[in-house]
Structure formats: C-alpha cells, structure tokens
C-alpha cells in the first residue's frame, strides 16, 4: 500500500488529484488481480500497474490542461513559485523536483529510490537493464540541479 501512495504522490501535485489517482490505482489492482499469473513478483506487478495507471491519468490530465487559458497556466506557475519560497520538508522538495521529470523518468527514479534492482526496473519499464544505470545517473544529476535551484 505504501508504494502506491509514494507513486501517486510523484504524479500529482494536489491532494485532490492524489486521492483520485490513489483510488484509481486501487480499483485497477482490485479489478485486474485475477490477471496476476505469478510469473513476476507480486510487488513488481503492483509497481508496474500503479505506474501505468498514474502515467495514463497524467497524460489524460495534460491533454485536458491544454484547454486552459495561458492566464490560468501563468497563475498556476506563479503560485508554484510562491510555494517554492516557503520552507518545505526535504521530502516535499524532493517530490517537487521529481514531479518536474518526464513520466518515465519519474517511474525510473521512484523504482530506484525504492531499492529495486536495475534488472527489476528494466523489467517493469520494459527496457534493457544496461540503459537503466545510465538513465538513473542522468536523472539524479537533473534532480540535483532542480534541488539546488539551478533549473526552473
């Protein structure tokens, strides 16, 4: 259950969205539980499903947000910058930085932080384990820059 919360937080920036995503992931797990065939670890299966649901929901929301006026978007950005000036817990700052990554990078770094092996990460993401190490290094550099305030 903890991992679902952690994943959903990385893909949402409001409590309302977080609850929606969390509910949707739980519902999908419950709905598709019979599809689990035992070939992969149960946790791997949960990771994969949770990430898929979150990435899909994020894409849908992005499409909807395209209809927002630029004024609304600007207001959102300004309010985000105001938030950044307030003193936040390190984990909140880290989440904020993670949310600025692409959907796939978010998934990779979450799995890495959850101490999944490169092989497992590659399996969940459907890619080659050799690429994962390079990708993680790149993501961490970017996260560092974001946390240090070098990137907007």
């Amino acid at each position: 259950m903890e991992i679902i919360i952690k994943i959903c937080r990385a893909y949402t920036d409001t409590q309302e969205d977080f609850e929606d995503y969390y509910q949707e992931v739980c519902l999908q797990i419950w709905r598709t539980r019979t599809n689990y065939n035992g070939k992969a670890e149960w946790s791997t299966w949960i990771y994969r499903l949770s990430l898929n649901v979150c990435m899909t929901l994020l894409k849908k929301r992005r499409t909807k947000r395209k209809h927002f006026s630029s004024a609304a978007v600007n207001a959102e950005v300004l309010s985000a910058k105001d938030d950044a000036n307030k003193k936040e817990a390190p984990i909140a700052q880290l989440y904020k930085a993670i949310r600025q990554l692409s959907e796939v990078d978010r998934a990779v770094i979450l799995l890495y932080l959850e101490e999944q092996s490169y092989k497992d990460i590659a399996e969940i993401m459907g890619t080659n384990p050799n690429n994962i190490g390079v990708r993680i290094k790149r993501i961490k550099t970017r996260l560092k820059k974001l946390l240090d305030g070098q990137l907007d």
């Binding site: 919360i5 937080r9 880290l94």
Partner: protein, 209 residues
C-alpha cells in the same frame, strides 16, 4: 548528493504522515457523476446534430425542388430531437441523493426503458426517413427529368418507376423489421463505451457489496 537523495527519500517517510492512505469511499460517487455528465453531454450533442441535420435536409431538398420531402424530414427530425430531449430529462431527474449503487442501477433501468421506447419509435422513424429521402430525391427536378428521359412510358407510382417504388418499399420495410438490431448498433456506436462502463461499474459494486 547521491546519498542525500536516497536519504531524503528514506528518512522522509519515517516521521511524517505522508503515507496515510486516503479513503476509497468517494470513488464511485465521483465516477457515477462523471458518467452521467458524459451521457448528458453526449445526448445534448446528439440533439444538436439532429437539429443541424434537419435544417440541412430542409434547405437541400428545397433547393433541389423537392421541398415537401424536405419539410417532412425536417419535421420528423425536429420531432425526434424534441423526443430525445424529453428522454434526456428523465436521466437528469434520477435522484442523486441515493447511494451510487442504487443510483447507477436506476440509471441502467431508465436507459433500458428509454431504449425500448426508442425502438418502438424507430420502427416508424427509419422507414419514414428512407421513404421521405428516396421519394424526395426521386422527385427532385433533376431526377424527374432523368427518369422521364431514361424510362419513357414506364408506369410510375408517385412519380417513381414501379419497380423502383417496390424496391424502396421493401428496403423501408426491412429497416422497420430490423429496427431493434439497427438501433442497438447505432446506439452502440455512439454510447457503447459509456454503456459498457456503466455495466462494469455496477458489476464492480455488486462484487464489492
């Protein structure tokens, strides 16, 4: 810094309340509201489409010199749009105060009842559209000339060669007989995904109960 990211992550979840799971109880309330909103929106678009179609048909047939058929089709389609609007109000009147399961079950029953009503109506609407459209086309100034040229002296009924008249009537009759099937396909094309979602949600909730 490598360490600090990992440590921040590890330590971040040790002390704070970040891992409190939200309750799941509102999920189906939100989903059912979303579903009914989409159904109503789609219904509204459908009505607008019918009205626009009615106006186009009226103008088209009038320009082609066959205004009675155009007027007939226009009135038929406007009547259909009006009827659809009345039916749509039935959906909006379902009590949202009840729990989601009862609400969705009522919604499903209301939709089934509406479908039955529509099937009765479409048994007449489909053939009427075919007849008005065909006779309208065949009685347009252009078609009348072509028919007179191509089939001189052939026996006609309402200005249409008898064989063609019989074919049109048979075609209209077939649509009337198969109205249920055609209507279901028609509805499936437009509302299919939403209806399947409704069915899915009710099944989920029955299991959860």
């Amino acid at each position: 810094m490598d360490n600090s990211i990992e440590n921040t992550w590890r330590e971040g979840f040790l002390q704070d309340k970040a891992l409190v799971a939200p309750r799941l109880n509102k999920l189906y309330d939100q989903k059912s509201n979303h579903l009914i909103d989409r159904l109503l929106r789609l219904g509204k678009r459908n009505i607008i489409g019918i009205v626009i179609g009615a106006v186009i048909v009226l103008l088209g047939f009038s320009l082609a010199g066959s205004w009675p058929a155009g007027l007939g089709l226009f009135l038929l389609l406007i009547g259909l749009a009006y009827y659809t609007q009345i039916q749509g109000k039935k959906l909006a009147q379902i009590d949202k105060g009840e729990n989601s399961y009862q609400y969705l079950t009522k919604l499903k029953l209301t939709l089934q009842e509406m479908m039955e009503n529509y099937i009765h109506i479409y048994r007449w609407v489909y053939p009427a559209i075919i007849l008005l459209f065909s006779f309208g086309m065949l009685n347009s100034s252009y078609s009348v000339e072509v028919i007179a040229e191509q089939f001189p002296g052939v026996s006609t009924i309402l200005g249409v060669p008898t064989a063609m008249f019989v074919c049109i009537m048979l075609f209209a009759l077939t649509f009337s007989v198969l109205a249920k099937r055609i209507f279901q396909e028609d509805v499936g094309l437009i509302y299919g995904p939403l209806l399947r979602k409704l069915e899915e949600m009710i099944t989920d909730m029955e299991h959860l109960r």
